[in-house]
């Protein structure tokens, strides 16, 4: 992924210099290993600050709404699908964005890497062609990239940008033969009480910081339901029912829109696999309505349309 | 250890609908335990948290004066969850009051001075308290001229109409009541915005302090008028509002710069405010 960095800088410089865009949204190299920070630049001279590697899992589509400028933005497959979703939902217009597409080989799961390093101090994580090298004071470890990918990346089937105006490299081969829903089926197979306990345990560490919600480009409502007071849909304490209500409704709001970009899980400071909620919806929507989010600019999302013969066996 | 979060239980004894839009009501409250009144010793400019079990608390300026014994008065605008519930309560019902909170108007500084009171809309509450306090016979001589410019959108939107009428009759206070507009032919007071009437009545800045409370737009246009009249930022006293919860400088939300509006304020001089972020 490092190889794209130069090309991204070049495209950004070009776009800003030519005046094709007013601002460019990308990443700059982070201050700690395996972290990069979203950055907005206005001046072509700042293009050199742009960086790219396999630690760009924060979804930049989240930074595009409520802006007036013409924007250049770096986007991998899932992020480009969120840009499509924004356009379809009238949050941005197609003319407003110049998408610099990045064929993606997956982002690193930094928690997994910390675990592999035995939670010892990591000085840096180097990316090589086929894998990564974890370097510390007193040890060095090599891992295959496939073993240290974020879970959503490991099962990704849309690595290449869906829409793009410029592409920084040749399209990568899409993964095939992927079973995206193994984890969901495992939960489905449980008895109701076991499922209930499963989700209770899943959210037990939640501190209601809303990082999952806020890292998500789909969450742009002016007032979130958790902040409404009349009526108050959900209490504010760490009561497990309130926490579960939050996660349930948050996921439901993403139904048919979620691209499984994994930003929510990446952002969670306490390591909750919040995709266990959204992926169930994704699976059902694929099975019931044959829909995957953000693949087309011309189709309405599944909850904004219907077919007269939609399944209704559950209705008396 | 005294628990600062426990409100004094009070009973609502009277509810007056103040304004024609029925959005402002005045609540008269009596302490359930008479000994609590002594603990609730306050000065005009302070506020209290009105506390309704199951709904929450709201910070409201105290509209009664310490010279009015036996009860407290609060005038409440209907806005959110707690205030809407309060507006539906009936005399006889029980609620809580936590306070007094915040500083007060600078009564030490005001002694021996002319006091100019400029108010708009429902921000008149703590100023009512101040006027009642100053007009109390044993207090009146501590202050020189008292001038009041008080305006509302229409005659029907003025607070405390009977009290205003009574003050109009007195010769120890200069009342300038005004409304933005009216088609009431019997209206015998001023018509015009508060800043304009202030300019017209031109209270002197000499040996004076001005207490200014009102909506942001009124404050914005009154400040230049006062400057023109010679009031320095130290002579202009204002009372801020911010979202509050604890009211005692602990929960953090009303913080602006180095100050907590609830504990270090709500009363600040313009000179102090000029050195603080305008985050209110």
């Amino acid at each position: 992924m490092l190889k794209y960095a130069d090309k991204i800088r070049q495209e950004a410089r070009d776009l800003l210099q030519s005046g094709e865009v007013d601002v460019f949204v990308g990443f700059r190299k982070g201050t700690i290993p395996m972290m990069n920070e979203p950055i907005l630049i206005r001046d072509a001279r700042d293009a050199e600050k742009l960086h790219w590697d396999s630690n760009c899992g924060i979804n930049l589509a989240n930074y595009l709404t409520k802006r007036k400028e013409r924007m250049g933005v770096v986007a991998v497959g899932c992020h480009s699908r969120n840009i499509v979703t924004h356009i379809v939902e009238n949050q941005i217009s197609r003319d407003q964005v110049v998408v610099v597409g990045v064929p993606c080989e997956g982002m690193l799961d930094r928690r997994r890497i910390h675990e592999l390093a035995g939670r010892r101090e990591i000085l840096e994580v180097l990316e090589e062609e086929s894998g990564i090298v974890i370097r510390s004071h007193d040890f060095e470890q090599r891992h295959n990239k496939q073993d240290v990918l974020q879970e959503n990346c490991a099962i990704c089937i849309h690595r290449n940008p869906v829409i793009w105006d410029r592409l920084v490299g040749e399209a990568v081969k899409e993964q095939d033969g992927i079973d995206r829903y193994e984890d969901i089926r495992a939960v489905e197979a449980m008895a109701p009480d076991a499922r209930w306990s499963f989700f209770q345990q899943l959210i037990e560490p939640c501190i209601r910081c809303y990082a999952c919600r806020n890292a998500c480009p789909l969450c742009y409502c002016p007032t979130c339901f958790v902040d409404e007071s009349r009526p108050q849909w959900v209490g504010k304490s760490i009561d497990p029912v309130d926490t579960l209500t939050f996660h349930f409704l948050r996921a439901y709001h993403c139904a048919g829109r979620c691209t499984d970009c994994g930003a929510c899980e990446r952002a969670c400071p306490v390591g909750i696999k919040v995709r266990r909620f959204t992926k169930k919806l994704e699976k059902d929507i694929l099975e019931l309505y044959g829909w995957e989010a953000g693949l087309s600019l011309d189709e309405r999302p599944p909850l904004d349309r219907y077919r007269p013969d939609d399944p209704e066996e559950f209705i008396k | 250890m005294k628990n600062p979060y426990v409100p004094y239980p009070v009973r609502i004894t009277e509810i007056i609908t103040e304004t024609e839009d029925r959005n402002l009501k005045t609540f008269k409250l009596e302490f359930l335990n008479p000994e609590d009144e002594g603990k609730f010793a306050y000065m005009p400019g302070q506020f209290a948290e009105l506390s309704i079990a199951g709904k929450g608390e709201i910070p409201i300026g105290i509209a009664s004066a310490p010279t009015e014994k036996g009860y407290l008065v609060f005038t409440v605008n209907k806005v959110g969850l707690v205030t809407s519930h309060l507006h539906n309560m009936k005399p006889g019902e029980i609620m809580g009051v936590r306070g007094p909170l915040g500083n007060s108007y600078p009564w030490d500084r005001m002694e021996g001075k002319n006091v100019v009171i400029i108010a708009g809309g429902f921000a008149f509450t703590t100023l009512r308290s101040s006027i009642v306090y100053m007009l109390e016979p044993r207090n009146r001589e501590k202050f020189k001229d008292i001038t009041v410019v008080y305006g509302a959108r229409t005659p029907g939107m003025l607070l405390y109409k009977d009290t205003l009428a009574a003050w109009e009759q007195r010769d120890d206070i200069n009342m300038h009541i005004t409304v933005d507009a009216t088609n009431d032919p019997t209206w015998k007071y001023n018509v015009g915005f508060v800043p304009a009437i202030t300019e017209q009545k031109a209270p002197s800045a000499e040996n004076a302090l001005a207490l200014v409370c009102g909506p942001p737009i009124m404050i914005k246009f009154t400040q230049p008028v006062l400057s023109k009249l010679g009031f320095t930022p130290e002579q202009i006293i204002m009372s801020l509002e911010n979202r509050m919860k604890c009211g005692i400088g602990i929960c953090g939300r009303c913080n602006i710069g180095t100050e907590f509006v609830c504990k270090d304020g709500p009363v600040f001089t313009l000179e102090q405010l000029n050195r603080l972020p305008k985050e209110y």
């Binding site: 939960v187 489905e188 109701p192 009480d193 076991a194 499922r195 209930w196 306990s197 499963f198 989700f199 339901f225 009526p231 849909w233 209490g235 304490s237 760490i238 009561d239 029912v241 309130d242 579960l244 209500t245 349930f248 409704l249 996921a251 439901y252 139904a255 909620f277 169930k280 919806l281 059902d284 929507i285 019931l288 309505y289 599944p302 909850l303 904004d304 219907y306 007269p308 939609d310 399944p311 209704e312 559950f314 209705i315 008396k316 | -």
Partner: protein, 145 residues
């Protein structure tokens, strides 16, 4: 039925134009169905938000039943078509999270179908009763420090 026997609480959200009329007609016709149902009238099944259903469970409903016009008969032309997709996903996700199948019910009942109303009401009541009191998603005072 003994006095102490547990009786389920079921919240029924009925569309104003069809199912509510069906309930009315069932009443006029003195049709019998179990008395466990509390009706909330909604303008259209399309108005139903997942928050309403979750809100009912949070407040201790043992079952929730949503009923609207038959597809094609919606007073607002297509409200129930949209609703149908929302309901499918909602039901699946709620049950995925451990709410027992049988607590949440949906139906299409027209204002003329009083018999169907009474029949479905009975079915819903029986299904919920068979499950016993709800224990999940019920919001109590928080047990915190």
């Amino acid at each position: 039925m003994s006095e102490n026997e547990w009786q389920p609480k079921i919240v029924a959200f009925l569309c104003n134009w069809c199912s509510y009329g069906g309930a009315d007609l069932a009443g006029i016709g003195r049709l019998q169905y179990p008395p466990y149902i509390r009706v909330i009238r909604v303008p259209c099944s399309g108005r139903m938000s997942p928050k309403f259903i979750l809100g009912a469970f949070r407040r201790g409903a043992d079952g929730v039943w949503v009923s609207g016009c038959h597809p094609g008969d919606c007073h607002y032309i297509e409200g129930n078509f949209y609703a149908r997709r929302k309901f499918a996903l909602l039901k699946n996700l709620l049950e995925h999270m451990g709410i027992e199948p049988g607590r949440l019910h949906f139906s299409w009942i027209s204002s003329a179908e009083s018999t169907k109303f009474a029949r479905v009401a009975t079915e819903v009541c029986e299904a919920v009763r068979a499950l016993g009191p709800a224990k999940k998603f019920i919001k109590d005072l928080p047990e915190v420090a």
